[in-house]
Symmetry: none
Subunit: 201 residues, 4 copies
């Protein structure tokens, strides 16, 4: 990718996150990227295809990272912790990607939307499998697993909307925090883990 191509994608990411897909004009995009609006079309197909590219890249990266997270262990609790840490870190460090991914699915028309939704489902499927394994093993507990999964994801995704890297919390600290919270949410008894350290949620 040429520097200009990178600038175009960066501009799109910023503007789609700030103002939404429909709220972003092609001319604003061009201005932010530092090219003419006609030149934009060397680096993208249509505005929508640009959105699809951004979403697809972001989701594919998330899926790959999730697969890697799951692969670190065969213990559902450890897998869940790894997923949460990865998810929170991703959302805190790349909030633009995730905000666009979360808010602009409705802006896509078929068949692009179906493709993106498929990717997102694949990602959530990984969480579901880990949760299901943990619930079957009895190391995780929940009255409403489906609800718990969504609540957990919403909570973790929320960091993209407020986390400030210049704030008092490091990415590492944030990930720790949320991993512990996830365990509580799913009934993992804390004392038996990590030498019983006093983890304040």
């Amino acid at each position: 990718m040429t520097p200009t191509a990178v600038r175009v994608r960066r501009a799109a990411l910023e503007l789609f996150a700030e103002r939404g897909f429909h709220g972003t004009g092609i001319r604003q995009l061009a201005e932010r990227a530092g090219v003419s609006s006609a030149s934009l079309y060397h680096y993208m197909g249509t505005k929508e295809e640009l959105l699809v590219a951004l979403m697809t890249d972001s989701l594919e990266r998330l899926v790959a990272d999730a697969q890697a997270a799951v692969a670190t262990s065969s213990d559902p609790v450890s897998q869940l912790e790894a997923l949460v840490r990865m998810h929170v870190t991703a959302h805190a460090s790349r909030p633009l990607d995730t905000r666009v991914g979360d808010h602009e699915v409705e802006a896509l028309s078929e068949p692009a939307r179906a493709q993106v939704v498929t990717l997102r489902d694949r990602y959530e499927q990984l969480w579901q499998e880990v949760l299901a394994a943990g619930l079957e093993d009895g190391v995780l507990r929940s009255e409403h697993p489906a609800v718990a999964r969504r609540a957990l994801l919403e909570m973790c995704s929320g960091v993209a909307r407020w986390f400030d890297p210049a704030g008092p919390l490091t990415l590492e600290g944030l990930a720790d925090h949320y991993a512990a919270l996830a365990c509580r949410l799913l009934g993992v008894s804390p004392p038996t883990r990590r030498g019983g350290a006093d983890i304040c949620v």
Copy 2:
């Protein structure tokens, strides 16, 4: 409000929630409301003023309900529980309102945006006051109160994106669930409350 006026607001709420403010055209609005696009202007000022009205109504109701929730008790823990129950119930039962309120603030231009942000801040201020009181009293505990407040709100607001009234969970059950979760998030020792019942989060 005449029936048509109600239909216009309902249509706007649905479409702004579905497709976003910028993604909704005045003609779609008219069609959904069952009037001509010219007639729309008997029931609203501009498209943006319609959005402002929807947001303002929704937020004012939320603020009023929050004030009522806080007034039910002078105990910070009870107040927090009441806030959570109210917030979750509102988001689960009126997801369109809250989705519009959460996503479309950026679509407003000044000075409308400032007004809406002021209302939202007033709402969050109520949470902050309850949390601050609880933390000072020592009945709530948190390493990072600001983080905890936002994480809690994100988690609770999330229900607007997934709660299904036809699903297995009642609004009541959902509110119970989240009230308990909020307590855990803020270090309220469960055994001392409600006769030590085993509340599964």
Copy 3:
């Protein structure tokens, strides 16, 4: 149709005939019709749909007139003469319609093109049936009927490109001329018709 709608169609007909469909801009169209380019869209779908409407109307009229012409007699020679007179008259008096119909079929995209081609084929089918009947009866003669049909049509259609109503020839005279010519082209022996008058082609 409102006066403005008529002006829009007239403008389109003139410009599409003069400069071609692709050579005519929406702004020229608007200017010629005396409306703004945005107002144009009250009277048409897209530019292409306007072209389709013009072509369809013109062809349907031609087909109807051809059916009427054929219905005037059961004698193939008389039918052919009626067809030629009608065709020549139509092309001489409405040259814009026929020029657009002849030149701009390629500008259409599917499925509109197929519809228009179907109409045109239906029209030519009428000629073919008359010719076939005449050939079978032996009152018409041709070495290459298919060639004769196309040559005849081309010759008759050509008047749209040069006939001048202010010139020395009346529409009536023109039609006479071409009817006689068609008879010669198809081997009708002139002496037996119209009392053997000296018809100069």
Copy 4:
């Protein structure tokens, strides 16, 4: 001309004939010619200059061939037959050239249009001179010579729109056909020519 230059001209001829000058984009041209759109500009001036070149070449060839046809004899009837045979052969064997020449004159801007029209007029002038000589000699007869000339030309040019070299008719046969037809059109008494053979038109 280099092979690439030939390919460019061939591509332009095909596309201008298929889709018209305004309907053909520079990028389609490049693709059909197998070069980049920038490279196109090594082989042409502007798109319009390319059209002018194609038309000029085609018309100059036509003029030269017409002059040669006229030079074959001093008998107006023979000259007319030679012109018709040449014109029909040209239109049947090079339909792209003639279609572009016939349809795209309007696409030219001045002064190019004037040049092309001058060439076309020079061509038609040759026909007119032959017809005038024949009429004066009394070997050709027509009520409306101007009409006859245009009708004759339209009829002959029409072959470019339908002649199929793979069809039943050879170029030679086609030329014979049209030469005989032209004679009839202009009142040449057939019996006195070619030993009175029964020429079926």
